[in-house]
């Protein structure tokens, strides 16, 4: 089996988050990771990024962000106009 380069390994590590890898891919990757500190760090970095972004989405934390009074007013008007058509 041809040894994976770090570039190959990085693609597999990213794609593993999207699809199940084949047997050959899994074995090749495991061997590469066993030998390569950089790719092991890369693997942990991607996992951490994914977790951090999920946390971001679940908290939907945009700080104290709120609609501006202008935007609120604009939306209120649009809703009122459209509401009239509905009834």
């Amino acid at each position: 089996m041809k040894m994976l380069t770090c570039k190959d390994a990085s693609h597999l590590i990213s794609e593993r988050q999207e699809r199940p890898l084949g047997l050959r891919e899994r074995l090749g990757l495991r061997l590469h990771l066993w030998l390569c500190d950089g790719c092991r760090n890369f693997e942990r970095q991607l996992a951490l990024m994914r977790q951090a972004l999920r946390n971001l989405g679940r908290a939907a934390d945009a700080g104290g962000a709120d609609l501006t009074p202008e935007a609120r007013e604009r939306i209120r008007k649009t809703l009122a106009e459209r509401g009239k058509h509905e009834h």
Partner: protein, 187 residues
């Protein structure tokens, strides 16, 4: 739940406007786009209010509509300029990351203990700033996948792109974000 519990469009805006906007802002990363999508959501809710089943809270119902609208907005963009031939620089080019033999030019560093890192506000702040550095369309696709947790198959279907396309774009986004974090975070 009674029909009264649903309230009126005005009360939706008063009581849930800020929450909808925050959610939209996290996912669209743009004030104007977030405002637009909140308005579209409330208009759609107005039209669909007869179908509100009353099972979920009004907030959950509205957020559900909002998610669809964010996806719609993204799809409209993608139609105007197909994602894969958008004239945008890569998140981080392969040549920048790897030498000709496929080895890292700068090997990724150890970011430390994951649990600890996620607790630290500083990491999240740098992450937010690094997201700004990604090309906007690539960033939105990435947000859809990672923040909204939309699954790959859905995204491909909605955006009419092939899985290989999607994987390549996500790879680019991850490489770009990682590189930025490595530069700004690693000690």
């Amino acid at each position: 739940m009674t029909e009264n519990a649903l309230g009126t469009p005005d009360t939706w805006l008063d009581e849930h406007g800020a929450a909808l906007y925050k959610y939209a802002l996290v996912h669209t990363r743009d004030q104007h786009r977030a405002e637009e999508v909140v308005q579209e959501t409330l208009l759609a809710a107005l039209q669909a209010q007869d179908r509100y089943a009353g099972g979920a809270s009004v907030r959950t119902w509205l957020i559900g509509i909002l998610k669809h609208k964010i996806m719609d907005q993204f799809r409209r963009d993608a139609r105007e300029v197909p994602l894969d031939d958008a004239d945008e620089p890569d998140g981080a080019s392969e040549e920048e990351s790897f030498d000709l033999t496929g080895h890292w030019r700068n090997a990724p560093s150890d970011w430390g203990n994951p649990e600890e890192m996620l607790e630290r506000g500083q990491f999240m702040a740098i992450l937010q700033r690094c997201l700004e550095v990604l090309p906007p369309r690539l960033a939105r696709l990435f947000m859809l996948r990672e923040v909204m947790e939309e699954d790959s198959e859905n995204i491909c279907q909605e955006m009419a792109i092939t899985p290989t396309n999607l994987w390549t774009m996500l790879y680019r986004a991850r490489m770009g974000l990682r590189q930025c974090l490595d530069r700004n975070w690693a000690v």
